[in-house]
C-alpha cells in the first residue's frame, strides 16, 4: 500500500505541476475544511479532492476508494460513539431505546455533531491523500525547507523515508529466504523464524548503517545533508484556479454558515 502511494506520487498526471501550487491547494483547502464549520463545505472538499485525485492526477478510483475506506472505517466507529448519548429522561431523541431507568439514543444535535465531525475528518484526510498521491516526498521536503522547517527535521525525514524502504526490502528478502526453506510451516517454526528475522534485521541494520556511514564519509560528509532543488515555473492559470476554487469554498461555507441538517 505504502509502496503504491509512493509509486503514484512520482507517476501521476500532476507530477509535473509546480509543487508549490499543489501544496498551496492542499494547505488552503485543509485549513478551510478545518476552520470553517460547514457540512456542505466538508462534502464539497471530499468530492473536490476525489475529483482532483481521480480525474486530474489519474489515480485509479478503486485504489483511491480503498485508501479512503481505511480511515473511513475507523472514523465510523468513533463517530457512532459521538452520536449516541445516554441520559435519564427522554430528550428529543430521533431514535432511542430504554434500558432500565436510562435512555440510550441519538439526539438530533448529537447526530449533526457526529456527521459534521465525520465529514470534516474525511475532508482533511482526502486533502492529505491529495498531497501524498500527487507530490513526492522530495518535493514536500523542498517546500518545508522554504517554510523554514529546521534542517535536522528534514534530514531525519529523508533518512527515515529511505530506511523504511530499505527495511521493507530487507524484511521481504529474509522472509522469502525463510519461507522457501519451510520456515513458516507451522506455528512452532513460525515463531522461531520470526525471532530470527527480527534479530537478523537488527544486525543487518547495524551493518548497513556502518557501510552507509563509510560511503557518506568517502564523499566528504561533514554532518550535514544538503538539499538542492530545481527551479520550476509557476503557472498563473493554476494559481487562479486554486484561488477561485478555495474562494468558492470559503464563500459557500460562510453563506450556508452552518449545517446540512
Amino acid at each position: 500500500m505504502m509502496l503504491l502511494i509512493d509509486h503514484y506520487a512520482y507517476n501521476n498526471k500532476l507530477a509535473s505541476v509546480h509543487r508549490g501550487e499543489k501544496f498551496a491547494f492542499f494547505a488552503l483547502t485543509i485549513t478551510i475544511g478545518l476552520v470553517l464549520p460547514s457540512t456542505i463545505t466538508s462534502l464539497a472538499i471530499i468530492v473536490l479532492m476525489a475529483g482532483a485525485v481521480v480525474f486530474l492526477a489519474g489515480i485509479p478510483w478503486r485504489f483511491y476508494l480503498k485508501l479512503m475506506l481505511l480511515p473511513g472505517s475507523f472514523l465510523m466507529i468513533g463517530v457512532v460513539l459521538v452520536a449516541i448519548s445516554i441520559s435519564r429522561e427522554g430528550q428529543d431523541f430521533l431514535w432511542a431505546v430504554k434500558l432500565g431507568s436510562y435512555v440510550v439514543g441519538i439526539s438530533k444535535q448529537n447526530l449533526e455533531h457526529a456527521i459534521d465531525l465525520f465529514l470534516r475528518s474525511l475532508g482533511a484526510v482526502s486533502c492529505l491523500y491529495f498531497l501524498s498521491l500527487t507530490t513526492p516526498l522530495t518535493d514536500i521536503i523542498a517546500i518545508l525547507k522554504k517554510l523554514l522547517v529546521p534542517t535536522l527535521v528534514l534530514e531525519l525525514m529523508v533518512l527515515i523515508y529511505r530506511f523504511i524502504f530499505t527495511l521493507l526490502e530487507m524484511t521481504m528478502k529474509i522472509y522469502t529466504a525463510q519461507s522457501s526453506r519451510l520456515g513458516y510451516k507451522n506455528i512452532r517454526t513460525s515463531y522461531a523464524s520470526l525471532s530470527q528475522l527480527v534479530l537478523s534485521l537488527f544486525v543487518k541494520s547495524y551493518q548497513y548503517s556502518q557501510t552507509m556511514y563509510d560511503s557518506l564519509a568517502s564523499r566528504c560528509y561533514a554532518g550535514k545533508l544538503h538539499f538542492v532543488d530545481e527551479r520550476l515555473s509557476w503557472s498563473a492559470h493554476n494559481i487562479l484556479l486554486i484561488i477561485i476554487i478555495d474562494g468558492a469554498l470559503v464563500v459557500s461555507s460562510l453563506y450556508t454558515g452552518g449545517y446540512l441538517l
Binding site: Y10, P136, L137, T138, E169
Partner: protein
C-alpha cells in the same frame, strides 16, 4: 616530482575480531593508469580500498597521496576524499537520499560548491552515466544496474583524480557490464586514474594497464597483464584461473595451429584476428594436408 599519485606503504590492518585483513601491503599507483586489483573473495580488496580513502586507518604503515603522507586530520582527509572517490560494491549501501539527483549532488555540495555549480556537475555526471532521466526518481524504485550507475554518478560529480571501483561488474548482466566498462574507458581517456577490484580474470586481462594480485592481505604479484597471466602457478595459488583468451591461445599454440612466436593476444578481437590470419595462411597448405590422408 613523484610519478605515483597514490601509495600504500607497508600497511597492516587487523579487524577488531582478530582477522588480519592486510599484512604489510605496499601498492603504488601510477597516475593515469587503469589498475586492476585481482584477488579471490576475502583477499582484502575492499579493506584496502577503504584505506585509500582514509575511512580506515592502518595500524602500521602509511597512505601517501601525491607525495604527501595522510595524517588523518580533518583537512588532510578532506583533500584525499575530494581527489579519491570510491564506488562501493553494494549500491544500496551508498544511496541514502530520497531522490537520485539529491544523491548525486551530495558530494559536490559537501565540497562547498554553490547549488548552481553542484547542480551543473551533477547533471553532467548523470549524463555520462546515462541516468539523466532518473533525476527525480526515488532510489528504491531503481533496478540494480540503475542504482549502480547512480552510485557512480555520485562519485563522478565530485570530479576526483582517482576513482576506485569495488567489484563494479559483480551481479550485472553482460550488457550492463559492457556499459560500465565503456564508461571506465571513457573516464580513463579523460585522464582519470582508475582502480578496479575484481576476481574476473578475463576482464582484468583485457582492461588493465597494470595488475596487482592480492592474496590473504599481501601482494602476491604485480605487473602488466601479460606478465601476471604468464605465471599460472601464481594464479593458482591466488585462487584464480587464466583468462580464456590466453587458454585458447595456449591450446592453439600447443596444437601447432598457431606459430609459437606470435605475441599473446590481449583480448577477444586480437585472438580472433590471429585465428583468421592462421586460417588464411593454412588454406595454401590444404592440398598437402589432404595428400597426407
Amino acid at each position: 616530482m613523484n610519478q605515483y599519485i597514490l601509495e600504500a606503504r607497508e600497511i597492516d590492518y587487523c579487524y577488531p575480531d582478530g582477522t588480519e585483513a592486510l599484512k604489510g601491503l605496499t601498492m603504488k599507483i601510477v597516475e593515469g593508469q587503469k589498475i586492476a586489483v585481482l584477488g579471490a573473495n576475502g583477499a582484502g580488496k575492499s579493506t584496502l580500498f577503504l584505506h585509500f580513502n582514509g575511512i580506515m586507518r592502518p595500524q602500521r604503515g602509511k597512505i601517501i597521496f601525491m607525495g604527501k603522507e595522510l595524517n588523518y586530520r580533518h583537512r588532510s582527509l578532506l583533500e584525499l576524499r575530494q581527489n579519491v572517490g570510491i564506488v562501493f560494491q553494494d549500491p544500496d549501501g551508498q544511496l541514502f537520499s530520497a531522490s537520485v539527483l539529491q544523491d548525486v549532488s551530495f558530494g559536490p555540495l559537501n565540497l562547498g560548491l554553490t547549488p548552481e555549480e553542484a547542480l551543473a556537475r551533477s547533471k553532467q555526471a548523470m549524463l555520462e552515466t546515462e541516468i539523466e532521466d532518473l533525476g527525480k526518481k526515488p532510489t528504491h524504485f531503481l533496478s540494480y544496474g540503475q542504482k549502480k550507475r547512480v552510485s557512480i554518478a555520485g562519485v563522478l560529480s565530485m570530479n576526483p583524480k582517482v576513482i576506485i571501483f569495488d567489484e563494479p561488474t559483480a551481479c550485472l548482466d553482460p550488457q550492463m557490464t559492457r556499459k560500465i566498462m565503456d564508461l571506465l574507458y571513457r573516464l580513463n581517456e579523460q585522464g582519470k586514474t582508475l582502480i578496479l577490484s575484481t576476481h574476473d580474470v578475463d576482464l582484468a586481462y583485457s582492461w588493465a594497464d597494470y595488475i596487482f594480485l592480492l592474496k590473504q592481505g599481501t601482494i602476491a604479484g604485480e605487473g602488466t597483464p601479460r606478465e601476471i597471466f604468464a605465471n599460472r602457478e601464481l594464479l593458482r595459488q591466488c585462487g584464480l584461473t587464466s583468462p580464456w583468451v590466453m587458454e585458447v591461445y595456449r591450446e592453439l599454440v600447443n596444437g601447432e595451429l598457431l606459430p609459437e612466436n606470435v605475441p599473446v593476444p590481449q583480448n577477444k578481437e586480437e585472438l580472433f584476428r590471429l585465428i583468421r590470419g592462421a586460417a588464411a595462411s593454412r588454406t595454401h597448405f590444404r592440398p598437402k594436408i589432404a595428400g597426407h590422408r
